[in-house]
Amino acid sequence: TATAVRTCGFSFSGRYIMYTTDKTMGRPCEIHIFDLNDIRNGEPTMVIPISSSKITSAVWGPYEEYIITGHENGEICHYDLKSGDKINSCKEHSKQINDLQLSKDMSMLISASKDTTAKLFETATLGHMKTYKTERPVNSASLSPIYDHVVLGGGQEAMDVTTTSTKVGKFDARFYHLVFEEEFGRVKGHFGPINSTAFHPDGKSYSSGGEDGYVRVHYFDPSYFDFRFEF
């Protein structure tokens, strides 16, 4: 590709792939979609140019009907696959979206943003449901497949300001209750900001990858499974 690729992903069926390119060197930001069954001399099946704020994160919508994109200005949009039009959008975040992830049944979308919050949306309507607040930019957020839990990973970028407290292993992954928006746990261990988090599909463990170059795989203690919020 001519410019850097920001995100990429397989569609639900695995028949399509999409990737987004950066807005640099005079080229606009674009979504490229390939039909793997029908590759004609390396040309994408569909290219959707993005004229507004560039895309910083993107995932496939459920059932391959649209692509969900997160932008540098905090907007989240739906782009229709067939027509390439923007069919929905919302601007709940004030700074760039660092990560978008879907829930296991694809009904909910969680966005992680540089504005120090992560927000939960209804995938189909982009209706804002919940907000999870922290003090640092959130680089990644994931939804547990089996519980109402959310994990957030983030941290101050080294290039922004180098005065975060230099206590060892201070960067942590934070667990919030999905419905109550309250933090109930933190896992320390990373030496640098966490850039990506993901729950294992069975919900019994999660992994986090960080700026420090480590990928940490954590298996939950029995107490995690017994933990209950009172309500």
Binding site: F12, P62, E135, Q156, S165, L178, E230
Partner: protein
Amino acid sequence: NIFSDFDKYEKIPEEWEPPKPKPYHDVGNLRYFLQEPDCYDQFSVIYDGGDRTAIFKNTAREPVLIEERARWTETYIRWSPQGTYLATFHAKGIALWGGEKFEQIMRFSHPGVQLIDFSPCERYMVTFSPILSTQEDQQQIIIWDIRTGMKKRGFHCETQSTWPILKWSNDGSYFGRITPDTLSVYETPSMGLLEKKSLKITGLRDFSWSPSDNIIAYWVPEQQNVPARVTLIQMPSRQELCIKNLFNVADCKMHWQKNGDYLCVKVDRYSKAKKIDEKDQFKYSGLYYNFELFRIREKQIPVDKVEVKENVIAFAWEPVGSRFAFIHGESPRISVSFYQIRPGKVETIKTLERKQANHLFWSPAGQFIVLAGLRNMNGVLEFVDASDVTVMAQTEHFMATDVEWDSTGRYVVSAVSWWGHKVDNGYWIWSFQGRLLQKIQLERFCQLLWRPRPPSLLSIEQMRAIKKNMKKYTEQFEVMDRLRQSNVSTEILEKRSEMMNEYKSFRERATEEWESMKYRRLELRDGVDTDTLEYEENDEEIVEFLLKVEEVVVEE
């Protein structure tokens, strides 16, 4: 007189109309905040880089917002010394706000105002603006009467010295200012020079009022053969109460104890002085330090001397009591020493060594002190009980720029101001023992100021009686606390069950949708049902294979 005065005086009408009385503007109960039933103090917060100013109540779980306005002030804000008014700065002047709804009480027009000061009794306010304009004869320093809003007197100021230039006596009956070689004392409300004449003191460097009596302390550096001296004089009689001569003085700094019981003068002494060029400028070297402690309440004001080997970084009196503490030394060997003044001598209580501190903050109620290493010392905080000089807690608020005690001495706030540090702005609330109570983060938080309280109206006997009967009162408080806790938990539980119910209905819809779309999922993945993907347990397969052949010969 200005030219326009001619017109003004020509046009005086023949008939004189008596001025109409202005209707009384009732500002309401300005001290309503003292009647807060749970005794929560208020504090002001500027955040969003200065755009938003808010007043909060320091409630138990998190601060409750009382009032918030955007662009309330253009630069920063100040509380009046007894907490009655909130002053905001604007290009055109100052506005004072107060009362339950923070209505505007008074406006003062002084274009370009930069600094303000209040008289301790809150009757007068002084404003300073560096702009000199010939229109309307504007002066740089103006004294206002707060209740009427009238300009009482103005001054020009020739030199930009330290603010406040006009220093008030504690009851507001006098104020003074220094001009080269002169100390001018004025009396209120006439604003005229006391006895129509100033005090001529050659070489006068600095003066200060006692916080409780009408006594002025001033010092004069040494000139030719006359040693330096510190003098205390009584106002208005101008009687000299005490004079102390000091030798080899490079500089002096005066610190009054809050009750006016003691005055400490920190004296920088030199062992060698070299005159540079023809002017009376000296270069001092080989500096050493000592404190001269004046016992104001004792007859003839005896003076004690305490010598300090090292450079003194900070000094502070305990606000109620007779202790003081100071930080001395050079990084990294910095120590904090505590002294007690007893009848007859000044004794060291204890010295804490190897501390990271550059500021001292005593609790307004005394006994407790916070040693803080602010700004470049990364925000190290130590909470010390001065009665036995033990460290109660050692904590840190990374990159803290300010520390503020509330006026009752129960809470301490450490803050990271956006004006000093661009990230992590917010404030943390601690108990007086150093236990962290709350952490509040605010976007581009700039300044937090506690609302001061007027001095207590209780007499000493009444306060002693309350302390004796403390057990009775604590029972009542415990009951109230328990009630509040249970209220809070039921509130939380209710809120949570509401949220959960909402969420459950959403999940029901989502599950329905999921079920209905099953066909699509099968379609997309070629008929393979991937909804329940689990690890396949190892299928057991029974495989038979030949182990061995054994030939047994049966009967022949």
